[in-house]
């Protein structure tokens, strides 16, 4: 028995126009999706070349969900994106070369080599860098919303988590608190069907994860997470509702993890038909098609965007590889803060 509301796909450019997305915005979203995938594809190659230490994860298949939600945020909004949400960082303007530098453990990565892979975020963009422990960032995202509420600021916090992470207590505590206080928080569940090797039926027993919202006293919505326009529409609605004091919403973006859990995982446990089926719904392919049908994206312009992204990434890689390794002499610096001035503290 499902409780959450299912959304309809968006069709015409007229409907899209009503959302406030002009052609330039639409192409910008497309470009961000391509940069997102491009960064992760480069990362994959660099990893195989031994230039990226540790393990390597991508968000292939999640580009519509991450870019779609991030596009609906305003600069003053904040949030806690996770390991499949590179598109959020790209959309909010983290430079590609810094992301590659982060992957490679260089001094110019946002974590300065102290942390790796997608454990990055720029506080200037009101994003908080994730930890591995899932979903420990959920109550933190609620805390951003709490701060906005205490100060009476019209800002919204966006809280990402996965279908596996949903099983932990942090998720419950975060959503319950946000519901009780009607905090300006939008929960985005990236349901990509697998949590490492664990399929949905071993993670949750409800029809949709968004059904849980009812238990916390707010609205739950299921959206096709491979359709960037549908994601954008729902995210914008939920974010603006939260901004106006309407409380939280849980948006479940149904997607598919188009690769293994990480590079080391060949995903032998996923039936190959599933990969084939979802490949047809590749979020970038889908949006490209939509743009060609509704926004006159022709081959020439498509090629131009591709070349531009390629050039950007080539330059990013060059710059990242030129970035130095962190200096071991600084290892013990910066465990404790030396100033009480908090980032984002506007009075300081």
């Amino acid at each position: 028995m499902a409780i959450a509301r299912d959304t309809e796909p968006l069709g015409s450019s007229l409907e899209i126009g009503q959302l406030g997305l002009g052609r330039a915005e639409l192409l910008g979203m497309y470009r961000n999706m391509m940069i997102t995938r491009g960064i992760e594809e480069r990362g994959h190659i660099l990893y195989k070349q031994g230039k990226i230490p540790g393990s390597f994860y991508t968000g292939r298949g999640n580009e519509a969900a991450s870019v779609g939600v991030a596009t609906a945020m305003r600069p003053e909004d904040g949030g806690t994106p996770l390991h499949r949400d590179m598109g959020v960082h790209v959309t909010r303007g983290v430079e590609a070369w810094r992301i590659l530098a982060q992957y490679m453990g260089r001094a110019d990565g946002p974590a300065r080599g102290r942390d790796g892979n997608v454990h990055l975020a720029l506080i200037e963009q009101n994003l908080i860098s994730m930890v591995s422990h899932l979903p420990a960032m959920m109550p933190v995202a609620v805390g951003l919303g709490l701060a906005f509420r205490i100060r009476g600021e019209p800002r919204v916090s966006v809280c990402w988590y996965g279908d596996g992470a949903a099983a932990r207590g942090d998720a419950h505590e975060a959503m319950n608190f946000a519901g009780v206080r009607r905090l300006p928080v939008v929960f985005v569940c990236d349901n990509n069907q697998y949590a490492y090797s664990t399929p949905p039926q071993f993670e949750y027993a409800c029809a949709n994860l968004a059904d849980r919202a009812a238990g916390y006293g707010f609205e739950g919505i299921v959206v096709d997470g491979t359709d960037i326009l549908a994601v954008y529409e729902q995210a914008q609605r939920a974010i603006e509702k939260a901004r106006e004091g309407g409380g939280p919403t849980l948006i479940e973006c149904v997607t598919f993890r188009m690769e293994g859990h990480a590079v080391h995982d060949d995903a032998f446990y996923v039936p190959s038909e599933l990969f084939q089926e979802w490949a047809k719904r590749d979020p970038i392919g889908r949006f490209g098609l939509w743009l060609s049908e509704h926004a006159q994206l022709g081959e020439a312009e498509q090629g131009e965007i591709e070349n531009e992204v390629k050039a950007l990434l080539g330059e990013a890689q060059r710059r990242a590889e030129a970035s130095p390794m962190p200096d071991p002499a600084e290892l013990e610096q910066g465990v404790y803060a030396e100033s009480t001035e908090a980032p984002g503290d506007t009075d300081a």
Binding site: D115, N117, S197, E332
Partner: protein, 324 residues
């Protein structure tokens, strides 16, 4: 005797326990079809079925907590957390319920929690930690840290037999790197008995886990300089073999403690305090510790290398002790 990697020895020991005792079952994330993140339980699902090899949701409290409940009902759970780092999620449960149950209610909790720990491969701050010391501070929990394949198997058998919650730290950096002969049949290795990894006369070096091998390399270096180092591998931290340490110190008069975890309030501090309390007169030099600095474990290779104690750090500490 077959040669096995450290990882194979853990697998082999666990399989033997499950064949021997129907009450033993495995629970954890991705332990079934996938065979565990590190592949310790590959083939287990096929052999023992889905109610003895249970894929849990991403829920460390559900894993540790339900293992406690099942143990209280007479089963013998061997739970796996994907990385020891995630034990922080189950900390409340382990410390509040499992550790105190027997003392309060007289009901034993025979539970084993397997915890892949340790760094050395750029796992970053959340996939590299060695949190064993913290748990030695919690009365009611036992803490096991095997360094060799033989001990990995034997200590696991002892852990399964033990009527208490046992935290079994398996060092990820040893999984495939360390290979040795392991007896085929079932055997146990007692808790609280150190192993002499190498006998020596000039300095005692107490350590455990992957640092045993760092210690051995450093001792090799010093052998060339005519210095003989006695390496004690504690094997278990709670209980720990104080007697063996005191006896070795009585012989060498000098003590170096080495651990991969951070220095402050690490288990090395406890060892140092007890040796100072009980064998002050036997010491010819201040006790020394080599441990990681008090920072999170960084990701980038040059930082991680500076964090984890290296052979050169140990060798120079040994030289200082000898020269004192």
């Amino acid at each position: 005797m077959p040669e096995m990697t450290y990882l194979q020895a853990i697998s082999d020991g666990l399989r033997q326990e499950m064949r021997r005792d129907e009450r033993v079952f495995v629970i954890g994330e991705d332990v079934g079809v996938y065979g565990g993140a590190f592949k310790v339980t590959v083939g287990f699902l096929e052999e023992f079925g889905p109610w003895r090899v249970i894929d849990a949701p991403l829920s460390e409290i559900a894993i540790a907590g339900s293992a406690t409940g099942a143990a209280l009902m007479g089963l013998r759970p061997v739970a796996e957390l994907q990385f020891a780092d995630f034990v922080s999620c189950a900390w409340d449960h382990l410390v509040t319920v499992a550790a105190k149950q027997y003392y309060r209610a007289g009901t034993p909790v025979p539970l084993v929690l397997r915890l892949p720990s340790g760094g050395g491969f750029s796992g970053g701050p959340f996939h590299s930690q060695s949190p064993e010391s913290s748990f030695t501070h919690v009365p009611g929990l036992k803490v096991v840290c095997p360094a060799t394949p033989r001990d990995a198997k034997g200590l696991l058998a002892t852990a399964v037999e033990d009527p208490n919650p046992v935290l079994y730290f398996e060092h990820k950096h040893l999984y495939r790197r360390i290979k040795a002969d392991v007896p085929e049949g079932r055997y146990t290795v007692p808790f609280g008995k150190a192993r002499v990894h190498r006998a020596g006369d000039d300095v005692t070096l107490v350590t455990w886990g992957a640092m045993v091998y760092t210690a051995a390399e450093a001792a090799d270096e010093l052998r060339g300089e005519g210095i003989s180092v006695e390496i004690l591998d504690l094997r278990t931290l709670q209980p720990w073999d104080k007697q063996a340490v005191l006896e070795s110190v009585a012989k060498t008069s000098k003590l170096l403690i080495l651990h991969e975890d951070t220095r402050t309030s690490g288990f090395g501090a406890e060892i140092a305090a007890q040796v100072a309390e009980e064998a002050f007169e036997n010491l010819d030099a201040p006790i020394k510790r080599v441990a990681a600095p008090d920072t999170p474990i960084p990701f980038s290779p040059p930082l991680e290398k500076a964090f984890i104690p290296q052979v050169a750090d140990v060798a120079s500490a040994l030289r200082e002790l000898v020269a004192y």
